[in-house]
């Protein structure tokens, strides 16, 4: 099979999933996007010569954990938040004022979001105006997007940084401890952490006359 044929087949498969199973398609593209971004940022830290080694020991795992936690949380929190937003409207907890009367006798049936939405929209089509139908569709989709964004902000910008910092901090501590065990003994300060030892300024000594010893300044 030629590269062009393989590419076309893959592209067609992607497009098909994007149209028929949009929720999963968005999950997959988001996870791939985060993995790529995390990999690129890890390389940026790895090849940054101006950054001290000690900080790299925190920032590299921080970046890797950032990508891993973001992808996992997106799978379990962010994508579910969008459904929660839609459910709030479908279960009539949040409704546009104009739809309160027309949905008074509505009893939503169905076990999943899709069938519940069909039941909700079917009722509006039967008893409401075309304006009501548009409002209902906007309310369901709009609340899904709005609550999805709130979920993304909480998971990506609050939970992820807290978790990644905790895990990367533990990683750095373990690495520094390991390095300090392997570091050569510093004659003046004992066996201290390797980077500090490595970048320690040389101790200057001065002599006084015939006195053979040295005084540290």
């Amino acid at each position: 099979m030629s590269i062009k044929t393989s590419f076309t087949k893959m592209f067609t498969k992607f497009c098909e999933q994007g149209v028929t199973d949009r929720a999963n398609f968005l999950k997959n593209t988001a996870v791939v996007g985060w993995a790529l971004s995390s990999l690129a940022q890890t390389c940026a830290i790895l090849f940054n010569d101006k950054m001290p080694k000690k900080e790299k020991r925190f920032l590299i795992p921080q970046e890797i954990f950032d990508g891993l936690i973001n992808a996992t949380l997106f799978w379990f929190i962010t994508s579910k938040a969008a459904n929660l937003g839609k459910l709030l409207v479908l279960k009539k907890h949040i409704l546009p004022k104009s739809l309160v009367k027309v949905t008074e006798n509505l009893k939503v049936t169905g076990s999943d979001i899709g069938s519940m939405k069909d039941s909700f929209i079917g009722h509006i089509k039967k008893f409401g105006t075309s304006n009501d139908l548009k409002t209902a569709q906007n309310a369901i989709e709009g609340m899904g997007v709005a609550v999805g964004i709130v979920g993304a902000i909480i998971s990506n910008n609050i939970i992820t940084p807290l978790l990644r910092n905790k895990l990367a901090g533990m990683w750095q501590k373990r690495e520094l401890e390991r390095a300090s065990h392997n570091a050569p003994l510093n004659p003046h300060f004992g066996n201290i952490e390797y980077d500090k030892y490595k970048f320690q300024k040389p101790v200057k000594t001065v002599s006084f006359g015939s006195y053979s010893g040295g005084m540290k300044i």
């Binding site: 592209f11 149209v19 949009r22 690129a40 940026a44 101006k50 546009p96 709009g142 910092n165």
Partner: protein, 150 residues
């Protein structure tokens, strides 16, 4: 059952905007701005590491968010703009023909192609633009806010 919250005209305008107008670029911008408002502070008050590491972490986070959001918004906006043109030039006859008969599916397919296009572009921009600019940004902020040896 009576609704707990009744949305008036103004809130419904926002909800309607979310349903019809809000797309990838706006979504990325909202996440970027909220990230800038929260993540640097979480890094700055991170008690798991020493002060110097915390400062480097803040510099990297601020640089990454600014560059990532700017590039992300531009790439997504361009991908959506050119997805309609791209849709005309590619053969999509193999994509579930019965589903594509519905008029709304065409729009969803255009968005899907925009997303795939955006992801493909991000593959390059992440490594060729985001990573080197974030590195430069981190070093710039570090030179301004971190005193050597402290």
């Amino acid at each position: 059952m009576r609704p707990i919250v009744k949305l008036g005209e103004k809130p419904m305008k926002i909800v309607g905007y979310c349903a019809n107008k809000l797309a990838g670029p706006e979504n990325r911008l909202i996440l970027g701005v909220s990230a800038l408002a929260s993540q640097p502070f979480i890094d700055f008050y991170n008690k798991n590491v020493d002060e110097e590491t915390r400062k480097y972490s803040v510099c990297k986070t601020v640089s990454k968010i600014i560059i990532g959001t700017t590039v992300g918004v531009i790439v997504r906006a361009l991908a959506i703009k050119y997805s309609a043109r791209f849709l005309k030039s590619v053969d999509v006859s193999g994509v579930a023909p019965d589903i594509l008969k519905r008029p709304e599916s065409r729009k969803i397919l255009q968005n899907t192609i925009g997303d795939i296009l955006g992801l493909g572009i991000c593959l390059f921009t992440n490594f060729l633009i985001d990573a080197p600019l974030t590195k430069k940004g981190t070093n710039f902020f570090a030179s301004k806010f971190i005193k050597e040896g402290k």
